[in-house]
């Protein structure tokens, strides 16, 4: 440890870091540290010239440890590890100090920010001294995949995989395939029939010999790790164990319960229906009021349960275009009917959607804008009025409170996370956001992977989305899976916990702490052991081990102690 040669690289990130942090000073201070043989400040460390600089120094100056003070390691740790590897150095001899996201971007005082950056860099230098060379591990990749959810997303994923020759276990909770889309009439904005879209896929899926469909089924348990999962599927009163390499979660969404919005009286007023109830009418080909006659005035209300403080703050994304579609479908069926469209904001961002919005105007949909967090009020009609009721709207565009004649109200119910999303999340070990949607690995760069290797999310279980987006995600997930299948074996992280058998006394404190069951106890030897392939490196056992016999690789006590000393 005494003869280590550490290189410290302070990134300016253009001006992102430099405008607050004196990068030259950080580098100069780093150079005073024991073991640091070179310290440089550079415009963009992540750029090719930046990486080349590190590689060159490793080769020419014989660096054996590298500290990069730059952005968050969540951003570029992989980049710089790659640079180390390219220079022939074990990639784990890298440590990053986060002086952008957690320093220059959040502070304004250059003196304090520079001091903090120096402290963080010192912590990294002290830590990297204790880094050890770690080797990547490889495990076999089972080519079968478990797809949870038989909606358009799950079906697409299953077909994509099966038609490439891979075994798929498709688990559907209900007694039919097709999911929510099976309840829809036409789709926006091109007015294709949902039935056509879904039926063909169901047929192909049920006929494909590579797909085993489990109906009325549930995944009871999922163990193992990427490439080597074991699931138990409960269907028809029995439990089927399957071995799979990957999991696609495509559990979809649940329509918002409109009766929760008391003002509309859904469930008590027969002329107030949800978009899904209206779809059923459209599929039957008969639009009627609760009184059984064709409506003269139909009012479509957007954002029921969405974009509201009381219910869900997010936009459900598909309701706006669906509402416009209703204008088209109503006018086609009842040319003399008036269609009111009550919205908060019109979200018409998809391909063809702005045109579709314009078309809705052209066919004389009457648009009204109401205030967020308010609900239009139903007002009784008088005997002389030719409508069932009035809807009182505080129209934002005119500032007027307007009573609009209405026979039938269609509530555009938003999407919400299914009640069982928490259960599913625990089952496959992924996280949910505050609204219950599953969280992706990276919102921009890794939208279908999750923080659990080998588990992918696609479609509306991740967040509300359109059919095309769901299908795209299903295909993205399958592409990721097939890439792994093609390789045959997969690399797993070299970071995991290991029990030093010489130190373990078999106290078994750690045994029940592992959520992955990766700790094995040998009753003969009275020693515990971590099965490294199953370990996800949380470190719970490392911390609990009262005899410090478990080492959390890359997060050892020594490394963290050194970092504590360094930052203070």
């Amino acid at each position: 440890m005494d003869n280590q040669k550490i290189g410290v690289y302070v990134c300016n990130c253009g001006t992102n870091i430099k405008k607050v942090v004196d990068c030259d000073e950080v580098a100069a201070k780093a150079l005073e540290q024991d073991g640091v043989v070179c310290a440089k400040s550079y415009k963009y460390m992540c750029s090719n010239p930046g990486q080349e600089m590190i590689i060159k120094d490793i080769k020419e100056q014989g660096l054996d440890r590298v500290v990069v003070s730059a952005c968050s390691p969540r951003m570029h740790e992989a980049t710089f590890r790659g640079a180390l590897a390219k220079a022939g150095l074990n990639p784990y001899f890298l440590e990053m100090a986060n002086i952008r996201e957690q320093c220059s971007w959040v502070h304004v005082d250059p003196r304090a920010a520079t001091d903090k950056a120096s402290d963080l860099t010192r912590g990294a230098v002290r830590r990297v001294v204790h880094h050890e060379a770690l080797e990547k591990r490889f495990v076999d990749m089972c080519p079968a995949t478990l797809v949870i959810g038989g909606g358009i997303t799950g079906l697409t994923a299953a077909l994509e995989l099966a038609e490439s020759g891979n075994q798929v276990y498709l688990v559907e909770q209900s007694d039919r395939l097709g999911g929510n889309l099976a309840n829809v009439d036409l789709t926006a904005p091109y007015l294709d029939s949902a039935r056509d879209l879904i039926r063909e896929r169901i047929l192909r899926a049920t006929r494909n010999p590579n797909i085993t469909v489990f109906m009325n089924a549930k995944v009871e348990s999922l163990d193992g790790y990427v490439g080597n999962f074991r699931a138990r599927i409960a269907a028809d009163g029995e439990t089927v164990p399957v071995e799979i390499g990957s999991v696609v979660v495509a559990t979809g969404y649940k329509p918002f319960d409109a009766s929760r919005v008391k003002a509309f009286g859904h469930g008590t007023n027969p002329n107030v229906i949800t978009s899904f109830e209206f779809e059923a009418m459209l599929r039957k080909g008969r639009i009627v009021t609760g009184q059984g006659r064709p409506p003269r005035y139909v009012t479509v209300i957007h954002c029921v349960g969405s974009r509201s403080e009381e219910f869900h703050p997010y936009c459900s994304r598909v309701c706006c275009m669906t509402a416009l579609k209703y204008g088209q479908e109503i006018k086609a069926a009842l040319p003399d009917a008036f269609v009111y469209d009550l919205y908060i904001d019109m979200h018409a961002f998809g391909k063809g959607c702005e045109d579709f919005y314009k078309q809705a105007s052209e066919i004389r949909t009457i648009f009204m804008m109401f205030q967020k967090n308010t609900a239009p009020q139903i007002v009784a009609a008088g005997p002389k009025d030719d409508c069932e009721m009035f809807l009182r709207v505080d129209d934002k565009l005119s500032g007027e409170e307007v009573d609009i004649p209405t026979d039938l109200i269609v509530l555009m119910v938003g999407m919400e996370a299914r009640e069982d999303s928490g259960e599913v999340a625990r089952l496959v070990n992924i996280s949910r956001d505050k609204d219950g949607w599953f969280i992706e690995s990276h919102p921009k760069l890794d939208p279908v992977a999750t923080t659990t290797d080998g588990v992918y999310i696609a479609g509306c279980c991740q967040s509300p989305k359109d059919i095309n987006e769901s299908v795209a995600q299903a295909r993205a997930a399958t592409a990721r899976i097939m890439a792994k299948i093609a390789k045959g074996r997969i690399e797993v992280d070299a970071v995991f916990a290991e029990v030093n058998q010489d130190d373990c006394s078999g106290c078994r404190v750690c045994n029940d702490l592992c959520p992955y069951g990766a700790i094995d106890f040998d009753p003969e030897a009275k020693r515990s052991n971590v099965i490294s392939a199953m370990c996800k490196a949380c470190g719970a056992c490392v911390t609990a081990c009262p005899s410090a016999a478990i080492k959390g690789r890359h997060f050892t006590d020594e490394q963290i102690f050194a970092q504590i000393e360094g930052v203070l």
């Binding site: 373990c504 404190v509 911390t543 009262p546 005899s547 102690f561």
Partner: protein, 321 residues
């Protein structure tokens, strides 16, 4: 046993200690006679007479071995420790107090003033109105009398003088004492700074009780529960420090149906024994509800007493601030 060219010169002394370590040396039974035959015991207040000036008269390094038990609590402890260090080739911190502060170390939770107050002023056994407090220096007719000066806190021995070896235990297991003496006699010693006369794992390694599932819903003090004789005490909710305590004691306490209190100090790689006990014991509490967790943990009284029964002076933070 081979006769040395020259008899081994040894001394045994005590600092802030109870005397148990000295008794433990005697507990080696007949072996002590071998020791006497093998070595010149130059100082051992509990067994033979000896004065400071005898020690002061020795050449530096004249003693081959000093077994110093007890922590450092006052100026006398420090003085004699430094003196013996100078006169000895090998100085061993003998027993928990010298090793890690021991029971006296628990006094680091309170101030010297609080201790004096409790011991000499406000205590039910003190006659009301008695305000006698020992002073470092008293003036009497014959002149000035001095007694050792009590320090503000307790130090483990190596805070005061460099130590060559540590023999843990409260007291050290007689069998281990034998091993140490034999090792010194034969020169078969490990690297300086090592713990000798102990194992390198934890008490659990030697414990015969069976260990199964680690999930605790309730903690008990030993007298609150009827024990399963063959089952791990911790598993039964009795806070046992065995899993966080260096092995070598012979599992004396758990074998006597009492939980380990940690006298052998932390396991070799552990930096802070109490923190590890806290971490291990709390980890296996079987609840996810903060209120319930609090309730369960409340059954552990006196956390310092459990975490640092012997090791407070050697813990990271060493004392109450």
């Amino acid at each position: 046993m081979e006769t040395a060219k020259k008899k081994l010169q040894i001394a045994l002394y005590w600092g802030a200690a109870c005397g148990g370590c000295d008794v433990a040396v005697l507990d080696t039974n007949e072996f002590i006679l071998d020791v006497a035959a093998l070595a010149d015991i130059r100082l051992w207040p509990i067994a033979i007479d000896g004065k400071y000036k005898d020690v002061e008269a020795m050449e530096d390094g004249e003693l081959d071995l000093v077994l110093f038990n007890g922590a450092v609590r006052n100026s006398e402890n420090e003085h004699i420790a430094k003196l013996l260090r100078r006169k000895s080739k090998v100085m061993v911190a003998f027993g928990s107090c010298a090793h890690i502060g021991g029971i006296p170390g628990l006094a680091n939770q309170v101030t010297k003033e609080e201790i004096l107050d409790r011991a000499y002023l406000n205590n039910p056994s003190i006659e009301p109105g008695n305000r006698t407090v020992p002073l470092p220096e008293s003036h009497v007719e014959a002149g000035s009398l001095e007694i050792p000066y009590v320090y503000k806190r307790v130090y483990k021995l190596d805070d005061i003088v460099p130590i060559d070896y540590y023999v843990p235990g409260c007291p050290p297991l007689p069998a281990q004492i034998k091993n140490v003496l034999v090792a010194v006699a034969t020169g078969n010693l490990p690297a300086r700074g090592s713990v000798v006369g102990a194992g390198h794992r934890t008490v659990c390694d030697d414990c015969k009780r069976t260990r199964n599932e680690r999930k605790i819903k309730k903690f008990y003090r030993p007298w609150q529960i009827i024990q399963q004789p063959d089952t791990c005490l911790l598993e039964q909710g009795i806070v046992c420090a065995g899993s966080a305590t260096r092995s070598g004691c012979g599992v004396r306490c758990p074998n006597s149906n009492m939980p380990c209190r940690g006298c052998y100090g932390p396991a070799p790689n552990v930096k802070d024994q109490g923190a590890k006990i806290v971490s291990a014991v709390a980890s296996i509490v079987d609840s996810k509800d903060p209120a319930e967790i609090d309730r369960i943990l409340e059954d552990i009284p006196d956390i310092m007493g459990y975490a640092y029964r012997f090791g407070l002076a050697a813990s990271m933070l060493q004392r109450r601030i």
